[in-house]
């Protein structure tokens, strides 16, 4: 009888322990700062958007804690999972004090949570007011990184094919180069494009970033910054460039639904392809090709006057401070972000380690070759393409366009392209109406 009693006590204890461990683990991600230094007022909890910069943020947080004694927790959401993570984290008692939105559409969901940053120290540091995200008179967010994207290319391979970047000045000349490479791919031993993967890890390159161009030109024609009803004036151009991508790549157009971002990166790094549509953030992943071999081209889609078009430059990374956090935490967060962009350690981490171009006077010259290559277009006086994709009405819209692009790639008929047009134009109207 006694052994049985002991046994039951042990079993019950084990169950309770398991339960406690389960709950403890869950809460830990949100509030691991609790046990730390209690003397410092306020603490910072940053929900980071960029997985590629995670380890540098962790180090920077540690450095800040050592310097000031203020607890900084950095949690990074998995690629493509930011909104989901943010939604669940924000519902917790220890919600992030620092988070980010991607632009006007992202701001719409979170505006009630955005602390008014106007008058704050960091706001005074901005080199240009256009880098602040405004909600009426309220400064809801502050951009902390300026990025570029375009068509990254391998200079050595392009030369081997008998061309240089100077041969590419518009869509027609680009098309000629690409198709010539495809025609001689067996002889050259490489293809023109990396796989245009439509897997979730890679499809944003096309359904979001590439789709930026037709939207940008339409906005430019109409003289607007956002709209509830897109016309799709430049969708034929979108089709041209998409055709070029999928029919001159390392894989068959029918296979793109299975190709991932890693596949495309691998194609580029192993020198199986010359061109890779991506942005300056990709630098660390493709640096193996060698700095001297990396260049970036504007994405030409065949619009009049595009010889003067530069790469796509902008940001979808705005820092927002959680207005529903406590006063102390808000102050601690403001101090932290200001420190990041003014102190030597902070600036060094952001500019050197993370390779960011920051819109603050402290910005250092970048060691990111792609950034420097992209800046050349600016110096030449080319007009950068602004990032208007943050005005896309919803994730649903992007997914609709993405699915239609995949289906079209597998069977490139006019009827299937009509579905892309419909997802683009009609989908835009529906989604703009549906998003409250």
């Amino acid at each position: 009888m006694k052994t049985r009693r002991v046994l039951s006590a042990v079993l019950a204890a084990a169950m309770i322990a398991g339960l406690a461990a389960g709950c403890g683990g869950d809460a830990g991600s949100g509030s691991s700062g609790n046990g730390g230094d209690q003397s410092a007022k306020g603490k910072v909890y940053y929900l980071n958007f960029k997985p590629e910069a995670d380890e540098y943020w962790q180090e920077l947080a540690k450095a800040y804690t050592e310097e000031t004694g203020v607890e900084v927790t950095v949690l990074t959401a998995a690629s493509g999972e930011y909104e989901k993570t943010l939604k669940s984290e924000m519902a917790k008692t220890d919600a992030p004090t620092l988070f980010q939105v991607n632009g006007p559409v992202g701001l719409a969901s979170w505006k009630d949570y955005c602390y008014d940053l106007s008058g704050s120290e960091i706001a005074g540091q901005l080199t240009d007011d256009s880098f602040a995200l405004m909600d009426g008179d309220k400064m809801a967010g502050i951009a902390y990184v300026i990025e570029n994207y375009g068509i990254i290319y391998n200079k050595a391979l392009l030369e081997k094919a008998g061309y240089t970047a100077d041969d590419i000045t518009d869509f027609d000349s680009f098309k000629k180069v690409v198709e010539d490479i495809t025609a001689r791919k067996d002889e050259l031993g490489f293809c023109a494009f990396t796989s245009a993967g439509m897997d979730g890890s890679s499809d944003w390159r096309f359904k979001t970033h590439l789709a930026n161009l037709p939207i940008y030109y339409e906005y430019k024609d109409e003289g607007i910054n956002t709209t509830d009803a897109i016309k799709g004036t430049y969708l034929d151009n979108y089709r041209q460039i998409w055709d070029l991508y999928i029919n001159n790549a390392t894989c068959q157009p029918t296979e793109i639904s299975t190709k991932t971002a890693d596949d495309a990166t691998a194609d580029f790094v192993t020198e199986e392809a010359v061109f890779y549509q991506n942005g300056t953030w990709e630098y660390n992943n493709i640096a193996d090709v060698g700095d001297e071999n990396l260049g970036i081209l504007p994405i030409y889609i065949g619009v009049d006057g595009e010889e003067n078009q530069g790469v796509c430059t902008g940001t979808e990374n705005y820092w927002c401070v959680n207005a529903k956090a406590s006063e102390d935490d808000i102050q601690a967060t403001l101090d932290f972000i200001n420190w990041c962009v003014t102190s030597e350690t902070g600036v060094n981490a952001m500019c050197k380690e993370m390779g960011f171009v920051i819109p603050f006077p402290s910005n250092l010259e970048s060691e990111n070759t792609l950034v420097n290559e992209a800046n050349k277009y600016m110096e030449e006086g080319k007009t950068p393409v602004t990032w208007v994709f943050s005005t896309m009405p919803s994730e649903e819209w992007k997914n609709g366009v993405g699915s239609a692009l995949t289906a079209y790639a597998a069977d490139q008929t006019d009827a299937n392209w009509e579905k892309v047009v419909s997802a683009f134009v009609d989908g835009w109207a529906t989604e703009a109406a549906a998003s409250k």
């Binding site: 049985r4 039951s8 006590a9 079993l11 019950a12 169950m15 309770i16 339960l19 389960g22 709950c23 909104e83 989901k84 939604k87 669940s88 924000m90 519902a91 559409v105 719409a108 969901s109 979170w110 009630d112 949570y113 439509m198 979730g200 068959q252 029918t254 296979e255 639904s257 299975t258 919803s394 994730e395 649903e396 997914n399 609709g400 699915s403 239609a404 995949t406 289906a407 597998a410 997802a423 989604e431 549906a434 998003s435 409250k436």
Partner: protein, 280 residues
């Protein structure tokens, strides 16, 4: 013994009960409440009445996902149970190595759904690429892909339940049938299956509710491609919740509708098969 049970009951029941309240009852009640609200985070909501339900019923993709899911649940129910029963019959015969076979058939059940989805996606796409197509290009590829996947995963589990049921059939009943001159088929349909009804009830209940609730396999195998045509109800709810600004409440309303449907179907199925159970 009974007294000891009663005395120690709280120790055993309370931890689980506490977990059940924390992990199920509270979220469930909150979820029903939230389905009438507009919200961004679950702790900060504004009451809007029935408008979320109106939106949910207007959604044509949601209706499509219902039929697609129902068809899937029925097809997987049949495939899984027929095969699991057949395997159970085979592995209760006097064969060498039945234990090894039982273990092997059970093993896929130990792998998580997301992992299974990705593994099978590689396999299917590897085969389909020979015919220059892919899983994400046709909703019926996704459908049969899912059927194969969940069958592979769940047959072993159902088989174990059936084996337990088969072993519980008293030998004298079978012997009596033998002496009465029943054929093998007659023994199967007149003796074995009626005696097995409790196992059949539980297996059918599990496989039909699993079919409706299927989420991770769907997410990782097809992610709803092409254009949401292979999106099942659970995934549709998830995508509604996160897909658009301001639609969290609609996703929640769909979840409540989904709950009602699954409970109704589960109860009908239980009643239907229970009525066929015989007293041993």
């Amino acid at each position: 013994m009974e007294k000891a049970m009663r005395r120690y009951m709280p120790i055993f029941v309370l931890p689980t009960f506490f977990a059940f309240i924390l992990g199920f009852i509270i979220p469930f009640v909150m979820g029903i409440g939230l389905s009438f609200c507009e919200f961004t985070t679950v702790t900060d909501a504004r009451f809007v009445g029935l408008s979320n339900y109106v939106e949910a019923f207007k959604d044509t993709i949601f209706r499509h996902s219902f039929w697609y899911t129902a068809l899937f649940a029925v097809a997987s129910l049949i495939v899984i149970n027929v095969l699991a029963f057949a395997l159970a019959l085979a592995l209760t015969q006097k064969l060498r190595g039945t234990n090894i076979f039982r273990t092997i058939f059970f093993m896929p059940n130990l792998i998580g759904g997301i992992v299974l989805g990705y593994i099978w996606q590689l396999i299917f796409n590897g085969i389909l690429s020979r015919y220059s197509t892919a899983l994400g290009l046709n909703e019926w590829y996704g459908f049969w892909g899912l059927i194969i996947l969940v069958s592979w995963q769940q047959i072993g589990y159902m088989m174990i339940i059936y084996i337990a049921g088969l072993q519980a059939i008293p030998g004298d009943v079978m012997e009596a049938a033998q002496i009465d001159g029943a054929s093998r088929i007659q023994k199967l349909f007149r003796v074995t299956i009626p005696m097995m009804m409790p196992s059949i009830t539980i297996c059918m209940f599990l496989s039909i509710t699993n079919g409706f609730k299927l989420f991770d396999q769907n997410l990782s195998l097809t992610a709803g491609e092409p254009a949401k045509m292979s999106e099942m109800m659970a995934l549709n709810i998830f995508n509604t919740f996160y897909g658009r600004t301001g639609w969290e409440g609609v996703g929640q309303a769909k979840a409540v509708i989904f709950f009602v449907i699954v409970v109704a179907i589960g109860l009908i199925q239980l009643r239907a098969t229970r009525s066929k159970e015989v007293q041993q």
